[in-house]
Amino acid sequence: MPNLFTLVLQIAVVLAVCRMVGSLFRLIHQPRVVGEMFAGILLGPSFLGWLAPGLSAHLFPPTSLGFVNALSQVGVMIFMFLVGLGINPKELKHHGHAAVLTSHVSITAPFVLAAFLSLYLYPKLSDESVAFTSFALFMGAAMSITAFPVLARILTEKDLLGSRLGTIAIACAAVDDVTGWCILAYIVLLIRSAHSANPLWLTIGGLIGFALFMIYGVRRALRRFQTIYERQGALSENVLAFMLLLVLSSALLTEWLGLHLLFGAFLMGAIMPKEQKFVRYIVDRFETITITLLLPLFFAFTGLRTNIGLVNGPEMWMYAGLIILVATAGKLGGSMVASWLAGMPLREAAGLGTLMNTRGLMELVILNIGLDIKVISPALFSMMVLMALFTTFMTTPVLELICPDRILRAKVATFSGHPPVPSMTFESSDGTAA
């Protein structure tokens, strides 16, 4: 049984610190999520544990963290459902060859560079219990992800959702995330199957069968939600509870099949109807508690697992620097070069690359999975968290520097492309975005 006093105290402290730091970051024109990620680090051994070890041990005793983790995972599960809900695969079709090329290069460039970097880092930061293939593929997936919600939030703030840059960035991020999660699914499967009694082919077969059943069977039935919404203008509590039940069932099934809860939640969101008003309505119902209460717990839990003290000495800091450099060169550079070759003006292409380099919360979700399945070590985890923070933090100022608003706004007026789904901004009235 959890010590209720400790748990409630932890939630209160996490909430207060996350809101405070998030608000401070808003003052410097950063999305609140960056501040909340930073707040998580402040609560962990890297700052509070180092500054006041007694207070840290009293506030976050190791035996109590399981409950914080459980709560935060429920939040991440709902968040992944909302991410899946906001992704519309049809978006890419409106942008033709340029978007296809840019999105695919923005995955392959960081992925391949990460694999090359793995040749150097594997003997230094991993151990023999992790196969090189798993290590390199995980590093690739972690470096090629884009934080779809943060990106959408930045574009909304800059009023760029309808611009060429905005629509291509959203479409590319959607493709990147789906691809990244598929690759991650393969890695998790590979590692878990080594410890499972079931043969790999059985697990893969089961998952393919499940995915086909969801896409071609359940998806049709889900249209009923939209029909009810269109008829009544709202969904009753019973209907919303049933929707949540479907998310949980899908999550449990993927976990039972040997993958991970989060994939099922994501898949359920991805196959939901994509009509804009319906999506916005569902996001509004689920996001408030998720973003204000549960996700800060996830940031805190991540921060408690992040120990920057493990990045000790010039050699380790050099590895961290290399990771940031490779992640940025692959994602920013790859997207920029591809979109420029596709005919986008250089400044705009650089802006697109900068946007694609945003990793945010999605990166933290992936890194936590990597640490759980032990494909990355605690020191590498800490370095990758630093990379996620750095690349997310740099997006807004770098975008402003290389692609000022006045240039981009001029393009908004002239662009007649297909506008993206606005619901994916996950924004609350105070500018929260995950």
Partner: protein, 164 residues
């Protein structure tokens, strides 16, 4: 975006920017298989040692009083080691080949005689053993009269991987 309006240009660009890197990825994965990473130490270990003698050492009282288990959290050639019940003494260490070395800062409860001293933990891992085992000594630094205490540790079977 005029450059890629024509299908031929698109195919060439796609092959160069996506196809070639993917081929490179396969090459990297193949060449990486030959790489050797440090031996695995990560996990919870049970320790067998002469706790009666350990308790007589200037800095060994708190260690002898605990269950003498240890938890190792590994990152390549470096690790953090938590001795005892895992809540008191956590110390960084290094692993070179099969030899590991860590310096344990003793607890204040070990008394004034212990202040400013530290315990050295030196051990060798047997890479072929299953479950993995290591053997070595715990000794008090700067104490000529203190004999090192020999110990042997066995790694516990790992908990189910992957659960969040």
């Amino acid at each position: 975006m005029p450059m890629l309006r024509n299908n031929r240009n698109f195919i060439i660009a796609y092959a160069l920017l996506v196809g070639l890197p993917i081929l490179g990825l396969f090459g990297v994965l193949k060449s990486g298989r030959g790489l050797a990473a440090p031996i695995s130490l990560d996990g919870t270990w049970t320790v067998q040692a002469d706790t009666n003698y350990l308790a007589t050492l200037p800095c060994g009282k708190s260690l002898a009083a605990s269950d003498l288990g240890m938890t190792i959290s590994q990152s390549g050639g470096s690790f953090t080691l938590s001795l005892g019940n895992g809540t008191k003494s956590t110390t960084p260490g290094t692993l070179v080949g099969t030899s590991l070395k860590a310096f344990v800062v003793p607890l204040l409860s070990d008394g004034a005689a212990c202040r400013g001293r530290e315990l050295s933990l030196l051990a060798t891992v047997d890479p072929k053993s299953n479950p993995r085992s290591l053997s070595g000594t715990i000794s008090v630094n700067d104490c000529d009269t203190c004999k090192p205490v020999a110990f042997r540790a066995l790694r516990q079977p790992s908990a189910t991987k992957g659960g969040l």
